[in-house]
Amino acid sequence: MTDPAPPLVRFEGVCKRFGETVAVDGVSLDIAKGEFFALLGPSGCGKTSLMRMLAGFEAPDTGRILLDGIDIAGLPPHLRPVHMMFQSYALFPHLNVARNIAFGLRRQRMPQAAIASRVEEMLALVRLEGLGGRRPDQLSGGQKQRVALARAIAPKPSILLLDEPMAALDRKLREETQLELMALQRRLGMTFMIVTHDQDEAMVVADRMAVMRAGRIEQVGAPREIYDHPANAYVAGFIGETNLLSEGDRWRAVRPEAMTLSTRPQEGARAGTIAEIAYFGDRTRYVVAAQNARLVVSRANVGAPLALSVGDAVWVSHAADAGALVSP
């Protein structure tokens, strides 16, 4: 047995309050080197405060933040080898693209020639070759996003923080960008930490993620692990859709795709009527009004379609071991 590699970042019992509001409430979390980590949660859950504390813009009230095993409490933002990509991109409007990317390199007193070649390298990395002379207001939203990314990566931070990096992009571009970001992270071998409220985005990009609620971490794990074995009803409901079915004094969380729909009575199935039908192309989502429950069933559109319409009587069932038992 070898010791596991020490974490790159460790939050130890970190608390932060703003006036009366508790933003972060005793968070302990490890992020490994080379990992793509996602902090996921609704707005106001403390994920942004946690990121800003790592960047150095806020200081924890209690607890410690270690980077490579060293407490960074005393380090101001400009001395931390941590760079952040801002949600608004925060490109400097009076500097062109190349100078924006070179900004951090100049502050490191890198020689002029090395800066120039690093900027070219970055432009190529984010596929903006030849646009070094453009000013930020001459770029499209997607281009601005890539400049912001290049600028934060250029000085080779130990960890790159991404604050809702795709919030301003339209859906199609967002999906493309997610894949690009993953490829980029793998290629650079750099540690990325993304903050997002979009569970699909977190699931796609992250190696591991933490689901947060009201300043606390509800569950940490790989997306698949969290999806298949949510720790509690909140996580089950926040990550994708779920049916919470009472089983003794606990709940069984069953995903819509694990539910089976039948037009004939089945042994152990719940009877109900179709309340909603939504067609998504690859799948159809049915909402079934059953006795004291509203069940969601997702059915892949392969083979013969079910001839169902709203109001039809149906029977919904699932395998006895489907989903996970969770505490309420």
């Binding site: 960047a55 150095g56 813009f57 101001p76 933002p77 400009h78 941590v82 760079h83 952040m84 801002f86 949600q87 608004s88 925060a90 400097f92 409007p93 009076h94 900004f103 951090g104 502050r107 490191q108 000013r135 207001d137 001459q138 600028r151 934060a152 000085p155």
Partner: protein, 256 residues
């Protein structure tokens, strides 16, 4: 039709006297109100009038120095008001910065005079310059504060994140961003200093007579066409200053 007429009437009311003054500055006659043909002789006479030239020189120096001082202090005050968030007395401080905008100038001038007397400072060029900086400071603060309030703070944070100290981030990113407002504030302060008479009457002393002071004292002895000429020059300078301030600060069209 009525709209145009009312605008014309308003403008005539505002600028009629000034136009008259400019026209009469090119009057060949020695008598101020009798037109005797076009001439630039009074501008020539002005160039020979050492007292008047001295006054112009004093006015320009006071304007340059006091405007620069007011702009630096105004920038600091604006940063304090916009960026420090809530601090005890913030509202009071904010209100106090604006108070000189509405205080009668006579009272400001008098209080400054009392201060210099109490401090036993001889009145002259420097007391005048400091007074103008004091009075124009609030105008500069208002102009810069408006711009700073709309300036995206994440730009400054990005600069700090990329290795700038807080001061470095302000100089590298914020200052270029608010530069138009800073320049406009300077032009405004300079222009206000140029045409001030009240404060100068209280706080200036021998050897530091400004152009408005010189004009006022000469007018009391009788109007001379040379005054029209120098007034025309002063109007031109103020017009240039105000236009420059407006041009600099006017919101620019952003690219595609």
């Amino acid at each position: 039709m009525f709209n145009r007429a009312s605008v014309a009437l308003g403008l005539a009311f505002l600028y009629g006297p000034i136009v008259l003054l400019v026209i009469y500055s090119f009057n060949a006659s020695r008598l101020v109100t009798v037109w005797a043909g076009f001439s630039t002789r009074w501008y020539g006479a002005l160039a020979q009038d050492q007292q008047m030239l001295d006054a112009i020189w004093v006015t320009l120096r006071v304007g340059l120095i006091s405007a620069s001082l007011a702009t630096v202090l105004g920038t600091l005050a604006a940063v304090g008001l916009v960026r420090s968030g809530r601090f005890p007395g913030r509202t009071l401080f904010g209100g106090m910065i604006y108070a000189p905008l509405v205080l009668p100038e006579v009272i400001l001038g008098l209080s400054l005079l009392l201060l210099y007397v109490a401090l036993d400072l001889p009145r002259g060029f420097w007391t005048l310059t400091l007074s103008h900086a004091t009075v124009t400071l609030c105008y500069a603060t208002v102009v810069i504060q408006a711009r700073l309030a709309s300036f995206d703070i994440s730009l400054e944070e990005a600069a700090r994140d990329l290795g700038c100290t807080p001061l470095g981030a302000f100089l590298a990113v914020t200052l270029p961003g608010i530069a138009p407002a800073v320049a406009a504030a300077w032009m405004l302060a300079f222009t206000l200093s140029l045409d001030d008479l009240v404060i100068a009457s209280f706080t200036s002393g021998p050897g530091a007579t400004t152009l408005p002071m010189r004009l006022y004292s000469q007018v009391r002895l009788g109007v001379n066409p040379e005054i029209n000429a120098v007034s025309t020059l002063l109007i031109a300078l103020v017009a240039v200053g105000v236009t420059a301030a407006w041009l600099i600060q006017r919101p620019r069209r952003t690219g595609p």
